[in-house]
């Protein structure tokens, strides 16, 4: 059984815009899926469906075999979203408060909240900045803080929406290492991006979206030649094939 199953999901906005058309997709436990597509292809809209922030006009989404609407808080605990703009995700006035927001919503005892917050901050190496104001962190630190805010909920799946946008080279490396560490630790990862050259070498699977539809789904090496037809730059080969398509090497 797949961890997440997207079954024929369509989404039409109130103004008539069709954002998704019959999207069908299954994500297995432990995968690192790269969801790529040009601007407006429906990637972010699909992401918001996976967490129940948007409801499908048609079709349904199953998490561990159950429709996510049956237990939305449970689905939101298991599927964490790291938004494209980390500033939009920051709610707390200090780094520690920001990370505590999720577990406090779960009404966990204060001691458990504190334990989880320390563990999450330590995992993303932000413990020393626990009392800092989030808006004063660097771009890379803000992304890591957003990851900590999701990790603290102890999710099975983490979805990153354009995790590299607006980051300088060291910031990209920080976030990329964080994503790979989470994958190594057993999390299922979905990375939504059009900057695929930064991470393609690590993806176990590539899904291409265009016009609200899934137009390609398979091993990255099999889909490379189709990328540019869908508005995604094909990463330059450097003699190592797909494995070399990463900013870590």
């Amino acid at each position: 059984m797949s961890l997440i199953e997207v079954q024929g999901v369509s989404h039409r906005f109130a103004d008539g815009t069709i954002a998704l058309q019959g999207v069908t997709l299954a994500i297995a436990d432990g995968e690192l899926v790269l969801l790529a597509g040009r601007n407006g292809s429906g990637k972010t809209v699909l992401m918001k469906h996976l967490n129940g922030l948007l409801r499908a006009t048609e079709g349904r989404i199953l998490l561990e075999g159950r429709p996510i609407e049956e237990d939305l808080p449970g689905a939101r605990r298991k599927i964490g979203l790291v938004f494209q703009d980390p500033d939009a995700q920051l709610i707390g006035q200090t780094v520690r408060e920001e990370v505590a927001f999720g577990p406090e919503n779960l009404r966990l005892p204060a001691e458990e909240v504190a334990r989880r917050v320390e563990a999450a901050l330590s995992a993303v190496e932000l413990s020393k900045l626990a009392d800092h104001v989030p808006r004063r962190l660097s771009g890379g630190e803000k992304r890591r803080l957003a990851v900590a805010g999701v990790l603290v909920m102890e999710p099975r799946v983490i979805i990153f929406d354009e995790p590299f946008s607006g980051l300088d080279y060291p910031g990209v490396l920080q976030v990329l290492r964080e994503i790979l560490r989470l994958h190594t630790e057993g999390h299922t990862i979905v990375v939504i991006t059009h900057e695929i050259e930064k991470i393609l070498g690590h993806a176990t699977r590539l899904v291409i979206m265009d016009g609200g539809c899934v137009v390609g789904d398979g091993r990255p090496a099999d889909l490379l030649d189709r990328l540019e037809a869908h508005g995604i730059r094909r990463p330059a080969a450097n003699g190592q094939g797909v494995a070399g398509m990463t900013w870590l090497r």
Partner: protein, 252 residues
């Protein structure tokens, strides 16, 4: 010292930051009452308290006053309205400015500035999490009022205020970079600022709601543990007593 923006929380380890918000909140309400129901002596006392609060909270007066700049126009308008409309002895021949008007306008400007400084001092030294816990604590005897929801709404409003000021600053910079000040018409300049500011504020509010929902937002949340020390009680009794004394002895 780091830049202080209006209504931004400043993380520091000071006595004012540690002061129990359940004491801080009624004291704030008492100070606001003092502001509007007392004359110059009460305002002087309050200003001294603000200066002391700023020093204890390690917020410099200069930084606090920089927070007043966005509201400078409003304060100036209040001052001018009083100075030009209150009847009395003319100060300058040919101009409708009166001595009484200047005094009333001065007091009004002082009050408005003190309100903003009081709000800035409070929000700079009280985290929304602590404030929320204090409100929940006060409303616990009234379950019909949904204390958790009220506390969250107040907390969100306070957290959105600095975002609005930040956004206004960003849009103003973008407009200035395209020489907006050379446009003579005030209405055009105001419109150029207001339209994107409103759109961006609503967009940010919408994004914040989505981020909260994605993390299982609920009205009923774990609340922070609050602890009132004996020093908190002493400060509340001393400062609160002095404020009540000024209200009784020097009513406005």
């Amino acid at each position: 010292m780091a830049e202080i923006a209006l209504f931004h929380y400043q993380t520091r380890e000071t006595a004012l930051h540690r002061y129990d918000p359940r004491h801080k909140l009624p004291l704030l309400i008492l100070m606001v009452a003092l502001l509007f129901h007392t004359g110059a002596w009460g305002l002087l006392f309050l200003s001294a308290l603000l200066a002391a609060g700023g020093a204890i909270g390690r917020l410099s007066l200069g930084d606090l006053f920089r927070g007043l700049l966005p509201l400078g126009l409003l304060i100036l308008a209040g001052f001018l309205a009083e100075a030009l409309t209150v009847p009395g002895a003319k100060v300058i021949a040919g101009l409708p400015v009166t001595r009484e008007g200047l005094v009333k306008g001065g007091l009004l400007a002082w009050r408005l500035a003190a309100v903003v400084l009081l709000g800035t001092l409070f929000t700079a030294t009280t985290s929304i999490r602590d404030l929320r816990s204090a409100i929940v604590w006060y409303l616990r005897p009234f379950p019909a009022l949904h204390g958790g929801r009220i506390a969250t709404m107040i907390g969100l409003t306070i957290s959105l205020i600095p975002l609005v000021f930040d956004t206004q600053g960003e849009i103003s910079d973008a407009l200035r970079s395209r020489c907006i000040e050379r446009s003579g018409r005030f209405v055009r300049r105001a419109g150029a600022l207001a339209a994107p500011l409103i759109i961006k504020t609503f967009t940010r509010a919408d994004e914040m709601v989505q981020a909260m929902e994605a993390r299982c937002y609920s009205d009923e949340r774990t609340v922070a543990r609050l602890r009132a020390r004996s020093s908190d009680w002493m400060v509340t009794i001393l400062v609160g007593g002095a404020a009540v004394g000024f209200l009784v002895l020097f009513p406005g």
